[in-house]
């Protein structure tokens, strides 16, 4: 399990902390969505979780080992897919032959499946790929490494429309009960059907940390032409063609999909209701 305890981080030369006193647990078997406004420290948090940054206070631990120690045994269990990917200008199969041996659970068979899924072949040259194709190749490799933690920073940036759908399918198919995937994104529509759990943060700390199933139990997310029909709504927002509303869900009310955009706005405008969950 990946845990972060009282984690704070301040960038060099800045007096304002990018992360303040974050405490979270990332349990195996779930896909976490890490959401927050621009500049609230989502990437910083991923870097701290991966051991790429030394926290000013607190720590991130994978199975009790501080990730900043960057032990090979820890690094072989964490894979990060950054927003901007650096891949050497060599053939994909050469890249795989040089990198795969570092990951004891790497599966060539799975990689071939993911590559096929993304419509790529192992003999492509990484130096001649577009940003989106490079990202697909990297994601395929990341998933095939079978690390227990995969951290993804804006993974759908640069992907075309079919690519986003391929990505969602690949991520869902790669999930098993021993694996945790954390996806930091502000493009919630690309991923809302993939996530099991949502974490929302701002500079002051964690605003929401809840499974989508739990949220579905407590709220209904409705799109309506007339918000007056729902007098018990706790939140409503005009959108094109109507209103998105959130209302408490009680007893026999129908379960709805979580609208992450509405939830995001609701969570930041009503932190006291969210905290009471």
């Amino acid at each position: 399990m990946l845990t972060i305890s009282n984690l704070s981080y301040c960038y060099p030369g800045s007096t304002t902390p990018a992360l303040a006193n974050m405490t979270l647990n990332f349990a195996p078997g779930a896909i976490y969505g890490l959401l927050g406004a621009n500049g609230t420290g989502k990437s910083t948090m991923l870097y701290c979780m991966a051991g790429l940054l030394k926290p000013a206070a607190g720590n991130a631990e994978l199975n009790g080992v501080n990730t900043f120690r960057r032990l090979p045994s820890t690094l072989s269990e964490i894979f990060i897919v950054p927003e901007e990917i650096d891949m050497p200008p060599i053939e994909l199969k050469a890249f795989i032959s040089q990198n795969a041996p570092f990951y004891p659970n790497f599966s060539q068979e799975q990689l071939n499946g993911y590559l096929e899924h993304f419509r790529l072949t192992p003999d492509i040259h990484l130096g001649r790929l577009s940003m989106g194709q490079r990202k697909k190749a990297f994601v395929a490799f990341a998933l095939a490494c079978n690390t227990s933690i995969i951290l993804m920073d804006e993974p759908t940036n640069g992907l075309d429309i079919p690519g986003k759908a391929e990505f969602r399918r690949a991520v869902v198919s790669a999930m098993d009960k021993g694996r945790t995937i954390v996806i930091s994104t502000h493009q919630v529509r690309d991923l809302d059907r993939v996530l099991d759990h949502v974490v929302m943060i701002d500079r002051s700390g964690v605003v929401l940390d809840s499974s989508l199933a739990h949220l579905q139990q407590h709220f209904q997310f409705i799109f309506t032409g007339s918000p007056a029909d729902y007098p018990d709504a706790v939140w409503s927002q005009p959108v094109v063609g109507g209103y998105n509303i959130i209302r408490p869900r009680v007893n026999d009310m129908e379960e709805t999909d979580v609208n992450l955009e509405s939830l995001f706005e609701f969570a930041f405008s009503n932190p006291e209701i969210i905290k009471s969950l």
Binding site: P12, A50, L53, L71, P72, D86, Q98
Partner: protein
Amino acid sequence: MTSDKYSSARMWMLTKHYFVENRRNIAITCGVIFGILLLISILITKSSYTPDDAALLSNHEERNMLILAFFCMCAGLIMQILGSLTFSSMSTKSKRISNLMLPASQSEKFISQCLIYVVGGNLFLIASLLLVDTVSALIFRMFPAWTMIPDIMDFTGFISNYPYGYQILAMLFLGLLAMFLCSQAIYVLGSAWWPRKSYLKTFVALFVFQIATTIIIPFGFLINFLPSIARIFEDFDISIEQALTIGWIGIVLAYAVLFLIYWLAWQRYKRLAVVKRFL
């Protein structure tokens, strides 16, 4: 590959990884090094001979000494450049992420990169210095107008004919080597400190440091203490044995400094994170 601190199998795998992923840049660097040395050798040889030259032997010696001097200068510069490339895998944020997340220990990453750019680079440089002269001689043989073919430089002859004995020769060799390696190590340290545009930044930092240490500080020191220092050396008499002992101590100190610089580079390297801090 179970150790979390050091595994030789993993380190060799890592060295191969760095080599394969940077093979294009390494090939370009090697090509440029060989090309520059070959060009120098050809230009010096061409300027040392004329087709109707009568004094061939003296021209050989003149050419050999000139080439040796230029090679020494080039070797120093090339070693510095190789040193500044050592941690080029940390030059951008995305490269730092790839490198730091690779499942190997920091010591293995440090050693692997030093092996490629410092050890491998220096071995390539030595091989180039030896090979370039032969290649340039072969090139000259291709032109019939140049009947006075230059000798290939005989390094062993230089050693066997050295007039001051093997101990001084060894001291000279080890001293020069220490000087070259220390100057390279400073650039390796610079590469750990500033992986991006490392050579330029280290050069400027060294320049500022040298200005401070060789002009400003000694100037103030000498003005105040020169008369008393001069008095110490008035009756200073030193035997050959004492000079040799001082020389050897100096060489040992130079290698200690070399070790210290690499230790500092290691300390800096293991603290590198995805966002750079000054310390």
